[in-house]
Amino acid sequence: MQDSPTKSASAAHDEHPAYLRHHFSSAEQQADAAGFAMWLFLLTEVMFFGGLFTAYLIYRNWYYPAFVSGSHQLSVVWGTTNTVVLIISSFTMAMGVWCAQTGRRRGLVLSLALTFFLGLSFLGIKTIEYREKIEKHHVPGFHYSLQSFLDPQSNPEVYAEYHDKPLAPDMARHTELYFSLYFLMTGMHALHMIIGIGILGFMILRARAGAYTAGHETFVLNFGLYWHFIDIVWIYLFALLYLISRH
């Protein structure tokens, strides 16, 4: 009686691939369950970011001029570059999934490495942008300065492009709220990027050992979903934060 479970377990292990966990009856069921769980997880992410988007939409409606002036302080060039970088990284990620599904080990490693470096480039550009905000005293809570909004000509580059009129002090104060939301939303996004890049590094190591090209590509597939999700969030952030006054 006591022997039977172990015996049947070892017999079962001979029949199915090593990656099949004991409580699933087939590899399809396992892949199905993992994929479904990933979609649900992304749903919780939508709700998490949803709270921030709600706050953004309310305050943008209330303080539209402040949000416009705030967005003029961002660099559309850097923003666009980062958008392109992320979209290309989504493409390389999709290539990675395809390589895993068709059993191309070297192609998979290459695609993941490209995605990894594109992700890092995104964070690098984001750092340049953040540094500029610090220099201009546009970080809420840390010596936040209203000068760029009360006297737009103090910032000649931005003034040359937009010819912003000075904001009334009351409205200028609300630009701090814009930058709070800017840092919160892009910061949350960057945090997701950092986690994603960490997982990518781990996947590259495993992919070199051939872990995903022997018929078990679920992990790559689900990570791809996560990566595309971060990409989509950025596209919304780009439109909402950088392009407010461009119709």
Partner: protein, 555 residues
């Protein structure tokens, strides 16, 4: 009555607990702490939530003791604020939210649908560790001085005015929230992808339907709480301004985000309890649940409506009259699916062969007390009465009738009902019936006077009150001591039964669920071979056929 019972135990002289089961398969502390078996994780949860329940209960005892007299004589008002805050935080986030789902749900969802485990066993273990991390952080907060904002962390009090440990408490709740998200996610995936052959959606026990609905709420609601807490933390530390009127932010936004989770959270707490009641009522009246489909869909309806009523917590907080009107109407709508359940359970009992074992006594307690709690919820949903009654003891009585009278009764009902399956031994019947009655009497004596106090205008969250309210407060405190005895009894006799209880056998209740068609306590892999569901849920005729067949093959 005493002879009339459905319990059928094996011959005690020869019966033994099966040698190989999920408890004996592996030994040692590490085999429990690193387990991925849903049954062992359920036991870990059961021990830890019981621990937190008694801490929360001790705090409740302190509150009632202070309120014995009109003056503030037991503790300073600041301490009182901390005590009721920690009582709320611990009871809601560390007892009520995980109570039935993480223990009974974890144990029985895979067994009821004929699976070997939840779809994501490691995530399941992770969720217990997150729960413990959050819980220990909450205890640490209490040890270093506590927090006094009330469990709602209301801004601007929590962000600008108090000097207590808002951040660590917030972090504790944040971490516990992720534990709840992972549990809900795991349940949804399991119910979708792990059902045994023949287990169609409308053959699922109603316990599964109600957990499914609660899981939807956990997955969609909890992330919003998480972001609200992140915003509170940033507002408090660096002053980002989203909730600060001086910078153009709006404290009401916090209320909206917080109640968007915290109203659905009351359904996270009550829905799994309703699942327990469906199983128990059906089993002890030997009838299929009346209107199975209606009860199943009413759970989903509660989950859906539950997301559109949050602003009824904010009628006096300056939302527009039109919003009040709409949220008032929607709040009353959510009473309909709850009523559907109560009516259908009553009709299940009608002309059933009822036997009065302990789980059914607790279930009766649930039906009576939840009905009162739910109906007073309708009073509070209508804005006219709400403006008079909100922030009084009427509210306190209302949600304790639902949460304690409802959910805790359901939890105890379920624990007694499934105890023989979880441990292989019966609890002692007579003393547990006594405990159920004591709990009911203690509960009514504690909380019914609070409805009257609230109507008379006694506000909540104060350590002192006008002397004319004392007599009703004395009743309430006296009731609380009886209630305390009612909760202590099960702990004592359930622990006793682990060693001395009668051997239960596979199916002591003659119940129909798949979990009863295997040994008690179950094997690590639950079933010896994958079960095939070839009948409807609650099909007692199928069970009789099965037993006749077995008797024939044995004979």
């Amino acid at each position: 009555m005493s002879e009339h019972t459905i319990v059928s135990l094996p011959d005690q002289a020869t019966a033994r607990i099966p040698k190989d089961n999920y408890i004996t398969r592996e030994n040692g502390l590490l085999s429990w702490l690193l387990t991925s078996d849903h049954k062992r994780i359920a036991i870990l949860y059961l021990i830890s939530i019981t621990f937190f329940f008694f801490i929360g209960g001790a705090l409740a005892g302190l509150i009632r003791l202070e309120l014995l007299t009109p003056q503030t004589d037991l503790m300073a008002t600041d301490t009182y604020n901390k005590v009721f805050t920690m009582h709320g935080v611990i009871m809601i986030f560390f007892f009520l939210v995980p109570s039935v789902p993480a223990t009974l749900g974890n144990f029985f969802i895979p067994m009821m649908i004929g699976a070997k485990d939840l779809a994501l066993p490691k995530i399941n273990l992770l969720s217990w560790y997150l729960y413990m991390a959050g819980g220990l952080l909450a205890l640490y907060t209490m040890a270093i001085g506590g927090v006094d904002t009330g469990w709602t962390f209301t801004t601007p009090l929590s962000t600008h005015y108090v000097n207590t440990n808002v951040l660590t408490t917030g972090l504790a709740v944040f971490i516990a929230g992720f534990s709840s998200i992972l549990t809900g996610l795991n349940f949804i995936v399991t119910i979708h992808k792990m059902r045994a052959p023949g287990m169609t959606w409308f053959r699922l026990p109603l316990f599964i339907w109600s957990h499914y609905a609660a899981s939807i709420l956990m997955v969609l609601g909890t992330p919003v709480l998480a972001i609200a807490i992140v915003l509170i933390a940033l507002e408090r530390t660096i002053g980002i301004g989203v909730f600060d009127p001086t910078k153009g932010g709006d404290p009401l936004l916090f209320q909206h985000l917080f109640w968007f989770y915290s109203h659905p959270a009351v359904y996270i707490m009550i829905l799994p309890g309703m699942g327990v009641i469906s199983e128990v009522i059906s089993n002890f009246s030997r009838k299929r649940v009346f209107g199975y489909t209606a009860v199943a869909f009413s759970s989903v309806a509660i989950a859906v409506f539950g997301f559109f009523v949050w602003a009824h917590h904010m009628f006096i907080m300056g939302i527009s009259n039109y919003a009040v009107l709409i949220f008032s109407l929607l709040s009353m709508l959510v009473a309909v699916p709850s009523a559907i359940k109560i009516f259908n359970w009553s009709l299940t009992l009608y002309k059933g062969s009822i036997t009065f074992e302990t789980p059914l006594l607790y279930a009766f307690g649930f039906m009576g007390l939840f009905t009162i709690g739910g109906m007073t919820g309708v009073f509070l949903g209508s804005s006219g009465t709400d403006i008079h009654l909100t922030e009084t003891y009427f509210i306190v009585a209302h949600f304790h009738f639902v949460m304690v009278g409802g959910m805790l009764m359901a939890f105890l009902s379920g624990i007694h009902f499934w105890w023989p399956k979880m441990t292989g031994r019966m609890y002692p019947e007579k003393i547990s019936q006594l405990a159920a009655v004591v709990t009911f009497i203690g509960f009514v004596l504690t909380f019914f006077p609070q409805f009257i106090l609230g109507m008379l205008g006694m506000p909540r969250r104060y350590a002192s009150y006008p002397p004319e309210f004392q007599i009703l407060n004395v009743f309430s405190t006296a009731g609380a001591t009886i209630l305390g005895v009612g909760y202590l009894l099960p702990v004592l006799y359930l622990v006793w039964s682990l060693r001395y209880g009668a051997i239960a056998g596979d199916n002591p209740w003659q119940a129909t669920g798949l979990e009863w068609q295997t040994q008690s306590p179950p094997l690590t892999e639950n079933f010896t071979e994958m079960p095939v569901m070839d009948h409807e849920a609650y099909d007692y005729e199928w069970l009789e056929e099965q037993q006749k067949k077995e008797a024939r093959s044995a004979g």
